[in-house]
């Protein structure tokens, strides 16, 4: 499989008064035209990894890496202006809650058209037509009405589909989905996922799927990186997640309720301080 993205020794650091806090500590992985899951608890550095690839870590946060290469082109060497041509057009991101990730005072249509016209030379009418097509591609009926609506008039599932449409309209090669279904009702989660899956496959994109939901990731992804305290502790095929060997992954799996093995009491994860210091596993193809 061709490598789209290659990350070598990525660190995300936050200097504070009491010293430097390392949120992501030297991880290396690559992404092909596949669905790569990143799982871990809150604070394990999975979201920051996604944002670091886009170089969207807020000051005073620092992103350091030997390289973050997109088709062999190091993103860290780019100027902010060059980086803007990468964002949206090459790599895009869908965030957790459409209630917050869509601008509340702009019409849905204007936000999608804006995303398209930032990277494509297109007339307003053409961008409008393209946006309607894109909304239809994410199974939104009555796209003309939705174009004129404001985000607060949309349900969560619709909002997230709009978000996906908006992020895919410039035709990026990589989509980072940061907990894209965590804020949605269970009933619409599956629908949003299957739409995203279909589009990613059709376009031959690479997907980084960040989640804390092990079941979801094992069903939905091809490969999984398990992160703990800013490092990758284990890499495995999603289908073989239940055979994972690392005690942390085993602990996470063990603490999930299961239909086929009802238990009175779920296992509690006990953390070994040695996990923190163990070297990061390489997540390459």
């Amino acid at each position: 499989m061709t490598t789209l993205l290659d990350v070598e020794n990525l660190w995300v650091r936050f200097p504070s008064r009491t010293g430097v806090f390392d949120a992501v500590r030297g991880i290396s992985f690559s992404l092909g035209r596949e669905r790569l899951g990143i799982v871990g608890e809150s604070g394990s550095g999975k979201s920051l990894t996604g944002r670091a690839i886009l170089r969207l870590i807020h000051k005073p946060g620092i992103v350091e890496a030997d390289h973050i290469k997109l088709h062999g082109d190091n993103l860290l060497a780019k100027s902010e202006r060059e980086m803007r041509a990468v964002r949206g057009e090459k790599i895009s991101m869908v965030m957790q809650d459409p209630k917050f990730s869509l601008n509340p005072v702009m019409r849905v249509g204007d936000q999608i058209i804006e995303a398209y016209r930032l990277h494509a030379k297109a007339s307003k009418a053409e961008a409008y037509r393209k946006s309607v097509e894109m909304l239809e591609a994410v199974s939104i009926r009555d796209a003309d009405r939705v174009m004129k609506a404001y985000p607060h008039e949309m349900s969560g599932g619709m909002g997230q589909r709009i978000m996906i449409a908006m992020m895919l309209i410039p035709n990026p090669e990589i989509l980072i989905a940061d907990e894209p279904t965590s804020a949605l009702d269970v009933s619409v989660q599956g629908q949003v996922l299957s739409i995203m899956d279909k589009l990613v496959k059709e376009r031959g994109m690479g997907l980084i799927f960040i989640s804390h939901d092990l079941n979801l990731v094992s069903q939905f992804c091809d490969r999984v990186l398990i992160m703990y305290a800013g490092r990758i502790v284990e890499v495995c095929d999603a289908a073989k997640l239940h055979e994972a060997k690392h005690p942390y992954t085993r602990g996470l799996l063990g603490s999930l309720p299961r239909f086929d093995e009802p238990r009175d009491r779920l296992q509690v994860l006990t953390r070994d301080p040695a996990w923190r210091e163990a070297p990061s596993v390489e997540g390459r193809l």
Binding site: L54, S92, M95, L102, N103, E114, H152, M167
Partner: protein, 352 residues
């Protein structure tokens, strides 16, 4: 058999279009607010330890004269009736006679209010044009030197007494440098050289195409207006900064960045759009505060505005003038509030 049908109570609906209904509701709320205001001003006038009769006829009048005036002023009637007459008069624009100027209070206000309005309007424009960008930049470049400068500028604006700044400004720019006109609204040679239409000298001079007079009036207004503008700038820039900081950490701003927008476009097209409603409130309140007439500024610059008028009237127990002025100021507040409500509806789709 008892009927157990549940019949929902229908709201009695008037067959009116929604815009008309909205207007009627607004008008009703204005009337209630204004009636409340009149009620308060009327009773303040009555509880003041000033005898309204003596204030009119003077200390040396005879008992008969006193009694005649007492009847003429309607003071023998019950308070409720008096209040009703008062409301009736006010509705007809009659606030009574001013003792000090011996003219109807309404005429006096029509004369002094444009002066204040001219000053306040230029002041608030100054405050918005400089304060909003300063606040936005301070938020975007948080912690940078420009943020520090904005902080000092605002701090000075908050904490310097205006009379001191006013006097120093006059001393420097008028007394020493001679860059601006002195106290008052215009130079003596320009008085009554063009027709007074709006009462605002800049506007009237411009209407008369009398540019030397316009220039003269501008040189008089520029110092007090920038002083007032500086105070609103301090307030507006601080508020803008904190509103912007809140928005800049919102997720939709990250979305805009992910799309590949320039920082400039992210700030103005996305974040700034979301603070407009809050900003309108701040600006409207600030403008209302200026329209009320800033007494100290008007006194230092001998500006014949409403602040100066009410204060002088108060100090000479000219209650009709004080109450009339208060009602007008109250009306301005109400109108500005309604105006900012209207703007909310335009700028925030969620408020519809």
């Amino acid at each position: 058999m008892a009927s157990t049908h549940y019949t929902p109570k229908r709201q009695p609906r008037l067959p009116l279009p929604s815009w008309l209904k909205g207007t009627l509701v607004t008008l009703a709320s204005i009337s209630v607010t204004m009636l409340g205001l009149l009620f308060v001003t009327f009773f303040i006038g009555r509880v003041m330890p000033i005898d309204p009769v003596l204030a009119v006829i003077g200390e040396r009048a005879t008992q008969d004269q006193y009694h005649a005036a007492y009847l003429e002023l309607g003071l023998d009637r019950s308070l409720a009736v008096q209040f009703a007459y008062y409301v009736w008069d006010v509705l007809h624009g009659d606030f009574g006679m001013s003792l000090l100027t011996a003219r109807p209070v309404s005429q006096d206000i029509a004369r002094v209010f444009p002066a204040t309005m001219e000053l306040a309007t230029i002041g608030i424009i100054f405050g918005i044009v400089l304060g909003v960008p300063l606040g936005v930049i301070a938020a975007v470049r948080r912690g940078s030197w420009i943020d520090q400068i904005a902080r000092v500028v605002a701090l000075v604006g908050y904490s310097m007494p205006i009379f001191w700044l006013g006097l120093m400004g006059l001393l420097l720019f008028y007394g020493i440098l001679g860059w601006v006109g002195g106290p008052g609204r215009q130079g003596i040679f320009f008085e009554d050289t063009f027709p007074s239409i709006t009462g605002m000298i800049l506007v009237d001079a411009a209407l008369a195409r009398d540019w030397p007079a316009f220039k003269d009036a501008f040189s008089h207004i520029v110092l007090p207006a920038s002083l007032l503008g500086y105070y609103s700038l301090a307030y507006i820039s601080r508020m803008t900064r904190s509103f912007m900081l809140e928005q800049l950490s919102a997720e939709y701003v990250t979305t805009a960045r992910v799309k590949g927008m320039s920082e400039w476009a992210v700030v103005w097209n996305h974040a700034f759009r979301n603070i407009r409603v809050q900003l309108i409130t701040v600006i409207a309140l600030s403008y209302a505060g200026l329209l009320e007439g800033s007494v100290l500024t008007e006194i230092i610059f001998s500006w014949p505005g409403i602040g100066n008028y009410i204060t002088t009237a108060l100090l000479s127990a000219d209650m009709n003038a004080v109450l009339g002025g208060t009602v007008v100021v109250g009306l301005i507040f109400v109108c500005l509030n309604i105006f900012s409500d209207l703007l909310y509806k335009i700028f925030d789709p969620r408020s519809k």
